[in-house]
């Protein structure tokens, strides 16, 4: 009897310790966004109410709605995220995750979560970080530096067009940005599921925002987990802005870039070589 009570004491003692450790690790999972501090413990209840249906109780993207959703819900256990301010292969910042949740993902089933308060969204950010141990072993990447957007000129657009050819954006996005390049049909994501490139002709919002700066970030950080790579190794910031200016002309939108391009084309269309396999720089081997 005496030894029995001793064992109960020992076992429950360890139990309390383990529970305390668990609670501590949960408490350690916080998010920090501006002045806000998000708490995973608070995020858990919100997650079960708003997110679990698609992302699943284990955060692996296998919620009960998942079979009917394309593209599939994010698998948080991989800690791989599309929309980041940080270089490819690094974790996003808490702010990046909050932005993604707030903005939602256009053309997917992920809606904008603006109706939730900032605090709630910060709590959810903290909670979704508990699904992967990478958040304990790795630090978020350092956000890339984006210099101020230079003045829009026709030279900038034309140089951007040359880069669209040279960097072979057209291989997936198509020579006119219609998402019909030679490699478009066979693209798969990091779970080998089919995925489509962005179609500029739809004029829809980008996966990671609407501004020129968002567009800059997309190809300089890459959309991790998707076929969209980072071009940061081979594009200088000035080049990147030129590419942004050109990409805007591919959208059927009333942007300053499109207006400038249209006016220039009216007089110079015949000077342009079409983009594609036979375009300037051939298969992309041409120098600047």
């Amino acid at each position: 009897m005496r030894s029995y009570t001793r064992w109960v004491a020992v076992v429950s003692g360890w139990g309390v310790l383990l529970l305390a450790a668990g609670a501590a690790s949960l408490r350690a999972q916080e998010s920090h966004i501006g002045k806000l501090t998000g708490h995973a413990a608070a995020g858990k209840d919100l997650y079960r109410r708003y997110c679990v249906g698609c992302h699943g109780p284990d955060g692996d993207g296998a919620g009960e709605n998942a079979p009917w959703i394309d593209p599939k819900p994010r698998d948080f256990t991989l800690a791989v995220f599309k929309c980041r301010s940080t270089p490819t292969g690094t974790l996003p910042t808490d702010q990046d995750l909050l932005n993604a949740m707030t903005r939602g993902f256009v053309t997917t089933n992920m809606p904008p979560w603006r109706p939730l308060t900032n605090q709630h969204r910060a709590d959810l950010v903290a909670y979704i970080k508990t699904f992967s141990s990478k958040w304990k072993t790795l630090k978020p990447g350092t956000p890339i530096t984006i210099p101020a957007e230079p003045r829009l000129t026709i030279e900038s657009v034309l140089h951007g067009r040359g880069l669209y050819q040279k960097m072979e954006c057209w291989k997936c996005h198509g020579s006119k940005g219609h998402a019909d390049g030679p490699s478009a049909a066979t693209l798969t994501d990091n779970k080998d599921l089919p995925i489509r490139p962005y179609d500029f002709a739809t004029g829809s919002r980008f996966m990671c925002g609407v501004t020129n700066e968002d567009l800059y970030k997309i190809f300089m950080t890459g959309l991790d987990g998707t076929p969209m790579p980072s071009f940061a190794d081979n594009l200088q910031p000035a080049d990147a802005w030129d590419l942004v200016h050109f990409l805007r002309t591919l959208q059927p939108l009333k942007t300053p870039e499109a207006a400038l391009w249209k006016a220039w084309l009216a007089a110079h269309a015949a000077e342009l070589k079409p983009i594609g396999p036979g375009g300037p720089g051939g298969g992309g081997g041409g120098g600047r």
Binding site: W7, G89, T186, P227, G284, G285
Partner: protein, 244 residues
């Protein structure tokens, strides 16, 4: 009584921990290192490797005009041998020095050369694009961070490394047939089989080892081998091949 048994257990653990270093095989005298060698073969019918249609990248079609490239997930040699099998010490390794020489991966003719490469954690890995068009290198890492970087024609090599042991499939999204493996192993005792399916793991001090052979489609096999001195032990692996 309970307390007693607990204390015995604790004593055993503590003394075990203390005694253990003394039990480790003393530094092997020079020349006493053994070798494990063998051959990797298959039984049954392996899948036929198919010619790859590289029409998406006319330049690569031209590069392989003489003979089309075949898929590489099961590459066999005469005598039912298997190529691209990684054989390594998976248990019993008595310490491997960190590797410092740079491993090279080439992208040429829309292929990864080599198809399977082995690196140790933090060993420098340089990735070259030798083609006159771009590739994107997309390692589908799970334990290590997954990344995806574009490498246009003429771009400098990508200097990278893997920090944690993992078998990482690598693909190029632009050319969906391009597929390779980065095998990150903590041990320096490994070999990748060639056409003859043969491997040799040398410089093994006396001890008990587990040797594992990995083939990308047929999985892994292991066997235990004990090395007592400067001997050569044979460990052959036979994978059961199925056509699908």
């Amino acid at each position: 009584m309970r307390t007693h048994s607990v204390s015995v257990l604790v004593t055993a653990l503590v003394t075990g921990a203390l005694v253990r270093p003394a039990m480790v095989v003393p530094a092997a005298p020079a020349g006493a290192a053994g070798t494990i060698g063998g051959k990797v073969t298959y039984t049954g019918t392996p899948p036929k490797m198919k010619p790859i249609d590289m029409a998406k990248e006319p330049n690569c079609v031209t590069q392989h005009a003489a003979a089309p490239v075949l898929t590489e997930n099961v590459v066999t040699g005469p005598g039912n041998t298997l190529r691209w099998v990684v054989v390594y010490i998976s248990a019993g390794d008595q310490g491997s020095a960190p590797a410092t020489e740079t491993v090279r991966l080439d992208q040429k003719g829309c292929q990864y050369i080599p198809h399977v490469l082995v690196v140790q954690p933090n060993q420098p890995l340089d990735i070259y694009n030798n083609d006159p068009h771009s590739h994107n290198i997309h390692p589908l890492a799970r334990v290590n961070p997954e990344w995806n970087r574009s490498q246009p024609a003429g771009a400098p090599p990508i200097h990278t490394k893997w920090e944690l042991p993992e078998f990482i499939p690598v693909k190029c999204n632009v050319h969906p047939w391009m597929h390779g493996w980065h095998m990150v192993l903590t041990t320096s005792h490994y070999a990748v089989t060639g056409e003859d399916g043969a491997f040799t793991l040398s410089g093994l001090p006396p001890g008990k080892y587990t040797v594992t052979a990995w083939q990308e489609q047929f999985g892994t096999q292991s066997q235990d081998v004990t090395i007592t001195g400067g001997e050569t032990k044979t460990a052959n692996f036979v994978f059961k091949a199925t056509p699908y």
